[in-house]
Structures are given as structure tokens and as C-alpha cells.
Symmetry: C2
Subunit: 458 residues, 2 copies
């Protein structure tokens, strides 16, 4: 007997379906005939429709087969009862350690985000008759690409048209897209050493041969690049990651001329160009290129928020037809609401104002951190990179017990980031992020940091 | 003489910088000394700070070098003036043809999206103290993963824990992530034939060998899969794409048992499970798996909106540590606001209500389309797939002039989608989408369609 309870909220056909299914699995043999719909309906005082509905579901799932004018029979299924695994049992819960002072080098404070404005623009974006039923342009909304192009031309000296821009959901996404796009043409990828490891990782994943090219006081060593024979090179010319070196104009031009002559491609990552404190931001290398051989990578992660997941790349014109034919051109990579809100934010002039505010605010923190290092660490350290972004790169100039230092940091709940973890290279330097602290908290944090620093000097 | 205009809004140091830069490029030679800061300041009645600022910028950009106690000199840069390319000139404007009747098979109407509610929840999500300064969990927000897990367990019979879910920005994104994740273990990928080409394309891009396995009335031909020796297989068991066949329980179990015995992996794409009209949605194949050998793929594109760019996959437990070690675990793939809004939408019970509404609405359109086909096309066609999703698959059963048909469609501004364009297979069938039409528009559209159809019958 099946238990069918008419007082339950669960539909009767569903109750019957479950009871029947269990019964079939446990008690029926293959080929056995089920009672007729009419008899089940009458036994349980159910309508024929209800019973039919349960039977059809079991039929649809393959438990039953139907013989015309005869009825339903149990199908040949073998119900293997394997070693049962409880999906919820064997995974350890996720533990996120929260540190007292976290010097994460790519963080902004919550207050840095224009919350109220974003809310207003986001509502406006939803209101403005977006078509939520359709797939949109896989390259990104053209209205957003237009305002980004204007911004890049005006503020970064990039020479581009909206048609060259592809909206991506982050730097690694853009790099992956590019890696796929050009792999019929290139197979050898050069990166700066030390350099941003994400760039290398992405191209490694797509099977490229990797050459690491040393960085000196002029940025990438162009002779070493020539020796490597790589025709695809990733660089951070405005503010080299992680050394902070800016590539001089002569080297930029030499690099462009060389790569153009060889049919090569330069990937310029302008990763924190909006946050430059010592001088005006250096115009992009892409703007010097007259030969259509530079891909320009930019992001809103540092200048606005990493949570939005919006970045972009500017393709050289010769790659646009290739992109449009590619599979990636079919699906947008960022939500329509986000794209439209961001478009309103840039078009309304808010982005420029916001950058100025963020730059001023973070320049203060940058200068405060520098000053605090000088006051607290005295002559025991040197600054390797400064003047931009959200971190200062330092290293000790005195004999230093790194093991002890790390143990003390852990004990004092201070989270530190080593330059070589994210960028390779053989120097032991710390990437000290200031962006995630308020000024007051930054003072506290450096106080705590300097205590463990001094204890680690041998 | 440089033109420095104090009445302009542009800062003086910027005016000077630009004038100097042009002068250097045009008139100076390498090694030539620039006038001293003092003399420039006095010649143009500018402050020393203003002049210093312009000089430092040129220094930072590599145009000048500085010799201590001597002054600034022009650096050795070669200014190559290549064949100038005007970036805005040579790209044709983008032309999107808008059709009178577009039968796109994966479209919803604008009215299907819960606009007001989404606006409210989105504002709430922004209010609820999100930390916009920080990078978040690359696997997706755990609160969103929790509610998706609950939904999947309750509605799709999936056995899973939030820890197994990865939030992606679309089906192809999830597939790419998986292709990377398991490629040390597998190199041979089997797909249904006919089958969804995006799945094949993604794995091809990652260098997998592809086997196409025929689909019959029971879904994937398991014997053919065995012969292929592929240990990684992509299937759409609930509603095969594009044939609509549902894989019977016996085959599901046989497939699981076989793949488990061989150490294989099944990728179940449950792509339009929420939109099932003939019977209740068939529970997932994943829920039958006791051996941790199924990856489950789901999306919000069809049940909510393709513009949100949110999908997810449920990994078998043994792949979770691998994912967590992978590079992809570092960066979220969907914006925090979208994730948080969606979480509120599901947790508030709105998603279930919404699915019911969408299902009813689209079932009506599905039935209307079917009825209209029967009325207008009479005996000249057969339905190959129906009962779910946003499209009905039809083909002519009479001699048919496809060339003429396509020409007429173009002329009448009717956009059609062939099943084999997106899924391979050797049948010429049309995927007729109804989701993007209102009922009234659907009648019009089928009327226009039937006219060109009849003219094409030979």
C-alpha cells in the first residue's frame, strides 16, 4: 500500500510518483506489469489524471515502458547500489583566516567605492529598458566601449576606436582570450623577470613556450628579448611590476620598431596607471605604436573596485576580424547591468572625479607609509619601488632572519606578501599594501610591523 | 617660444610639458642640454615648481636625462615615424541586422525578467555592507553557493554541498575551467552527435581529442562510447540537445557504472531542466551517482536572464582540492553585486516563483507554436523535439527547396536557426524559438514563416 496523504501540501501525483518509484526499485522485476491506471485510481481514490501524471513521469525517466493497449511494464534497468557516499560529509569546512593587519598589495577600503552613486546609477541602468531576454554583444556593450575608448584616448594617450575594445571579466580572462586568439600565429611568449606571474601562468596553460626576460633600470632588456627570439612579449612599461621601473621613451620606440619588423606583438599591461603619485601618469606605449602591433590591457579593479570584475583590452586592428570570427565573440563576459552602470558612471564624468579622489587619498597613504618606514625602520631598509599603485616594495639592507620574521608575523597576526611569490625574481622583498587601511589603521599596522622587523635583524 | 596661456583651464605645468615635449622631438638632438629650470621659469614668468614639474614628467617618460649639478639633457631616443595609421579610419562600422521575426532558440522576452524586484534586491545587495575594496572568493560567494546547493538538492535531485559549487560566468566559462582542471587526467573527450557544439569547441581549444558518439532514441549510445575508449563524456540526459530525447534510468545507471569502473568522468549539462512542459523535470543523473564521477552544469541564462552571465558547476568531491589549488580559484568570475543580488533572489523564494511563472508562460507559447505549426504546415512537417526549453525542432517531411527557402526567409526578414549549425548531425532541421515572442507576435511570426515554407515545398 502506498501512503497518499491528501492533507499534505505536496501534490498527490508527486506523492504517488515517489511511492511508485520506490516500490518499483524495491519490489518489481524487469518486465513485470504494473496495475492499470484505472485500478490504481480506484484503490487510492485518486483521479485518473493524477495517476496518469505519476505514470508518465516514471515513463519519462525510463523506469517504465508502455505497451499500446496493454499498459505499463517495468523496464530493464539495473539499480546498482554502489558504496554510498554522503556528499556532505567528507569536505572540511572552509576556514578563512582573518589577520589583524593584512598588507594585501591590491586592496582598496570599503569607503573608496562610490556606494550611493553606484546604487543610483545601477537602478537607472536597470530602468533604462535593457533587454534582459536576449544575448548581447560578446565583445561588450558598444556604449560602454565608446566611453572607455574616449577615456583611453584622453587620459592614457591610447590611440583606439571602440571597435577595438573587448570587455572582459578580469585581467586573466583577457589574457586567456588573447592567448587563444593568437596561438596559430605565435607559440613563444616572453615575460618580464621579475614580472607578473598571472600573465605567465595563463600563456603556459595554453601551451606557449615561456621565456623570462630580465628587467633592469630601463625596464625589459630588449637585447635579451631579441636573443630569446620570442615574438610575443608581455610588459608593464609605465610602472614595471614589481620593480616600479618606467621604460624610457627610447626603449619603447626601439621595442615597437623591433617587434614590428619581426611581425611580433607587444602586450602592454597598464595595470595601475591611474594611481601614479610622483609624476603625471606616463602615456601608454600603445599610443606610440604606428604599426598596429600593441595589445593594451586595462582594468577597473584598482581604480574602482575588484568586485565588479570588469577589465578590457584594446586589440590592434588586424586582430579584430580574427576575434569576431572566434567563438569568444559570441558570449558577453560581464553582466549587462554592470556594463550599463559602468557606462553611466564614465559618461557622467564620475569616473574621472573618482580617480582624482582615489589618487589623492592613496597618495596620502603612500606618503604616510613611506614616512612611517623611514621613522620606524631607520637605516635598515631600502625602497625598491614606490610612487604608484597600492603598495610600496621594500627590503632589508641589514642581515635579516627571514624565518624568525615569518614566525613572528604569523604570531602577531600580520599577513605579508613577498614580491617573488607573485612575480618571481631572486630578491626577497616585501610588497607592502597600504590601500586597504585607513590612515589611522596604517599607523598601527606599521607600528606592529616594525616591532617584528627589528626583532628579526641579526 | 612656447605658448603658455594663463587664461586656459589646463594647468601651466601641463602646457609647458606639452610644448617642451614637442620642441624636444622636433628640434633637439641627442645629448643637447635644455635651458635651466631657473631660466625657463623666468622667461615665461612661471614658478620654479611649475617648470620642475614639467621637466620631471619628461624625465619620467625617458625624454630627458638628468646630470647632477649640471641640468637636463635630451636622451637618446629614436623617434621612428612609421607609416602613420589612423586607428579610427579603417574599421567598418558594426552593422547589426534587425529582423522582423527572429526565431532565436534561446531567448526570453523583456517582460520575463523580474525588473522591479531585481532593482530592489540589487539596491539591498549594495546596501548590505559589501566590501568593494577586496578580492573575494574565486569559487563564488559562499552564501550564493549555499542557496544554489539547496535549490539543486530540492528541485533537481542533485546530491551536493555548497563547497562543490563553482560560480562561473556562463556555460562555456565553466566548461573551459573544467577542461583545464582535468587535462592532466584525461585527453579524450566524447560528445553527443548531434550535440551542443560549444561543449566540443571548448574542449577542442584545450587540445582534447574529440569523439562524436551517436544519439538514438535512448540518448547517447553507450556501446559506441565504450568503443571510443573516451573516459570523459559530455551529455544532456534530461532533454538531449538538440533531439530532446531523455536518457532512460537504465542507461543512466549503466553509464555511471561503466564510467566509474573505468575511472571516467561524466559531464551532465542540465541546460533547460527548469523549462519542462510535458512531465515534471526529470531528476538529474548526478543524483544517481554514488561514485563521485559526475560534474553537473547549470545556468540561470534560460530560467532568469542570459544578460546576468551567471552559471555554475557542481564538481565531484575528488576534484575540489584540485580546483582549490588551481589558478582559477583565485579570481571571482562574476561581480559581487550580481552574486549577492542573486543570492537574495533565491533565498527569498523568488526564484522558485519565477520559474513557475516562466514555465507556465513558455509552456503556453510552446503549445501555441505547436498548434500553429499543425494548423499552418499541415502534413508537410514533423516535430523532432518538443516539450521543453524555448524552442521546438521541426523538419519538412516533403521534398523541400532549402535554397529557395533561405532566400525567401532573408527577403521576408525572418531569421532562422538550423539545428546542425549549433549541434552538428546530418539532418536539416530548424530550431524554432518561441521564447522571444509575445503570443500575439508569435502568431504573426508563424504566419509569415508558413508562407515561405509552403512556397519552398517542391
Amino acid at each position: 500500500m502506498y501512503v497518499i496523504d491528501t492533507t499534505l501540501k505536496k501534490p498527490l501525483h508527486l506523492q504517488l510518483y515517489e511511492a511508485l518509484k520506490e516500490d518499483i526499485i524495491k519490489n518489481y522485476t524487469v518486465g513485470e506489469k504494473l496495475p492499470s491506471i484505472r485500478s490504481v485510481a480506484s484503490s487510492y481514490s485518486l483521479s485518473k489524471t493524477t495517476v496518469e501524471s505519476a505514470f508518465s513521469q516514471l515513463y519519462a525517466e525510463g523506469y517504465l515502458q508502455s505497451r499500446p493497449k496493454s499498459g505499463y511494464y517495468v523496464r530493464d534497468f539495473q539499480f546498482t547500489i554502489g558504496a554510498s557516499m554522503d556528499a556532505t560529509s567528507s569536505i572540511a569546512p572552509e576556514i578563512y583566516t582573518s589577520y589583524r593587519y593584512d598588507f594585501f598589495p591590491a586592496q582598496l577600503t570599503k569607503e573608496d567605492f562610490p556606494l550611493k552613486l553606484w546604487k543610483r546609477l545601477s537602478t537607472k541602468a536597470i530602468n533604462e529598458s535593457l533587454d534582459f531576454g536576449a544575448y548581447h554583444d560578446g565583445q561588450g556593450e558598444s556604449a560602454l566601449r565608446e566611453v572607455i575608448a574616449t577615456y583611453l584616448v584622453d587620459s592614457r594617450g591610447v590611440t583606439c576606436h571602440a571597435n577595438q575594445i573587448v570587455i572582459c571579466h578580469g585581467f586573466s580572462d583577457a589574457m586567456a582570450l588573447l592567448a587563444k586568439l593568437v596561438r596559430d600565429k605565435y607559440s613563444h611568449f616572453a615575460v618580464e623577470n621579475p614580472g607578473y606571474h598571472v600573465a605567465r601562468r595563463v600563456f603556459e596553460e595554453y601551451g606557449y613556450t615561456i621565456s623570462k626576460i630580465d628587467v633592469d633600470a630601463q625596464g625589459l632588456d630588449i637585447d635579451a628579448l631579441k636573443s630569446s627570439k620570442a615574438l610575443l612579449v608581455y610588459i608593464t612599461p609605465s610602472h614595471q611590476y614589481p620593480t616600479g621601473v618606467s621604460m624610457p621613451i627610447a626603449n619603447r620606440l626601439e621595442l615597437i620598431t623591433y617587434m614590428q619588423s619581426m611581425g611580433g606583438l607587444i602586450i602592454e599591461d597598464d595595470y595601475d596607471s591611474e594611481l601614479s603619485y610622483d609624476s603625471r601618469p606616463i602615456p601608454s606605449l600603445q599610443g606610440l605604436d604606428k604599426h598596429d602591433c600593441v595589445v593594451y590591457m586595462g582594468t577597473f579593479a584598482k581604480s574602482l573596485s575588484p568586485t565588479l570584475r570588469v577589465s578590457y583590452m584594446v586589440l590592434p586592428k588586424h586582430l579584430i576580424p580574427l576575434f569576431k570570427e572566434s567563438y569568444d565573440a559570441h558570449f558577453p563576459r560581464v553582466s549587462l547591468i554592470t556594463q550599463h552602470t559602468l557606462k553611466l558612471f564614465i559618461a557622467g564624468g564620475y569616473y574621472e572625479k573618482h580617480i582624482r579622489k582615489i589618487r589623492t587619498r592613496n597618495m596620502k597613504k603612500h606618503n604616510l607609509m613611506k614616512q612611517l618606514f623611514q621613522e620606524k625602520l631607520l637605516n635598515s631598509f631600502e625602497i625598491l619601488s614606490q610612487g604608484g599603485g597600492l603598495a610600496i616594495l621594500i627590503m632589508p639592507t641589514v642581515p635579516f632572519d627571514w624565518e624568525k620574521f615569518n614566525a613572528l608575523a604569523e604570531k602577531s597576526s600580520i599577513k605579508l606578501y613577498y614580491a617573488n611569490e607573485r612575480s618571481g625574481g631572486n630578491f626577497e622583498a616585501l610588497r607592502m599594501g597600504f590601500g586597504g587601511f585607513s590612515e589611522a589603521r596604517l599607523e598601527e599596522a606599521i607600528e606592529a610591523f616594525s616591532e617584528i622587523w627589528h626583532k628579526s635583524i641579526i
